[in-house]
Symmetry: C2
Subunit: 208 residues, 2 copies
């Protein structure tokens, strides 16, 4: 409930907290103070406390946060305590790279289908999932209650495909196509524009 | 010069302007008003004018911006009027996907070498570039004056490899490894943490 009022900036930082806490947990660390977490993550301790206060503070007492508890609570806020069903549209190198990335599955993101227009790729197995033609998408969405469509297709087809998928009931897109999707407000879109990212780096270099 | 004072938020928006202006140019559009650009990009016209004023305003008169000029000027600010030499460390699916992405070359990002620890992949050709073992990186950096190293390797090796590359003189990293590199301040790092991005999407879904 209260999560609705949280700023985008705070949300943007949660996955990084989750990542560091997961590493601490894997190393067997049980408690950590905001000061120590601050040093590790190179952010101020007051920023950490402010961010966590958005979620009730996670109960730091005099002797620090419980790592396991904090990791688990942030995971819940990020929706990682639930499984999400994904389909990947576009089985090129990028689609295959994402399909092969085991960590997604470990976090509850389960790939239920991979689709491509290219007949040469159709029938190929990627981590046990057969690449199917595009006209099989609807059946897959209907069968598996797909939450997220991953778009790793060229920008020319991405807009149309996204609209079609919205018609099938898909409510969230992880969009790698180099185009802004203009979808109804209720549809969630997270863009990964790799070219934009590379240009930012180029800008940083050229300012020197 | 003046570009140094520009906020990160403005910089972050420049690649998107560049993308839209490139599309307008490709469609043969010669002039566009801030109002029309605003509608197209779904940002306010005043935001556009404010952003552009950071760079002298690009001379909009009563009848709009010159698309070709604006595209070219923003390209210069982003350093796209210069060639950049890249190496890719990690020739897995993601490294191959990036190597195969032709648009980078068109924007002046030239891949000069691809490296991998995996002997099975070494010797393989990716767009005419032979995957080489890691001990050949230094020779490549010395020969081609490499500006940017793209890290598409697991997080366990990324920190060490990055430190080695800094020792070779590499000054910028496009980091896909799921770890924060802690490098000297003079080194530029642009992170693409795909898991973090997917978690943000998961958050958006679970808030509904």
């Amino acid at each position: 409930m209260e999560a609705k009022e949280i700023s985008q900036a705070v949300i943007g930082r949660l996955p990084r907290y989750y990542r560091y806490l997961g590493e601490l947990r894997d190393e067997g660390v049980e408690r950590i103070s905001s000061q120590d977490l601050s040093k590790l993550m190179a952010v101020t301790a007051s920023q950490i406390r402010q961010d966590f206060n958005n979620f009730g503070g996670f109960g730091q007492q005099g002797y620090g946060y419980n790592v396991e508890f904090l990791y688990s609570e942030i995971g819940k806020i990020l929706g990682l305590d639930q499984q999400h069903h994904l389909i990947i549209i576009g089985a090129g190198n990028l689609g295959q790279a994402l399909a092969n990335y085991m960590n997604f599955e470990r976090r509850g993101f389960i790939i239920k289908g991979i689709f491509d227009t290219n007949e040469q790729i159709q029938g190929k197995q990627i981590r046990g999932i057969t690449v199917q033609p595009m006209d099989r998408i609807k059946a897959c969405v209907d069968e598996y209650n797909i939450d997220i469509a991953v778009l790793t297709i060229p920008k020319d087809s991405a807009v149309e495909v996204a609209n079609t998928l919205v018609g099938y009931g898909v409510k969230a897109f992880w969009n790698f196509a180099h185009v802004d999707l203009h979808l109804p407000k209720s549809i969630k879109v997270e863009n990964v524009h790799l070219s934009d990212s590379l240009m930012k780096l180029s800008y940083m270099i050229s300012c020197d």
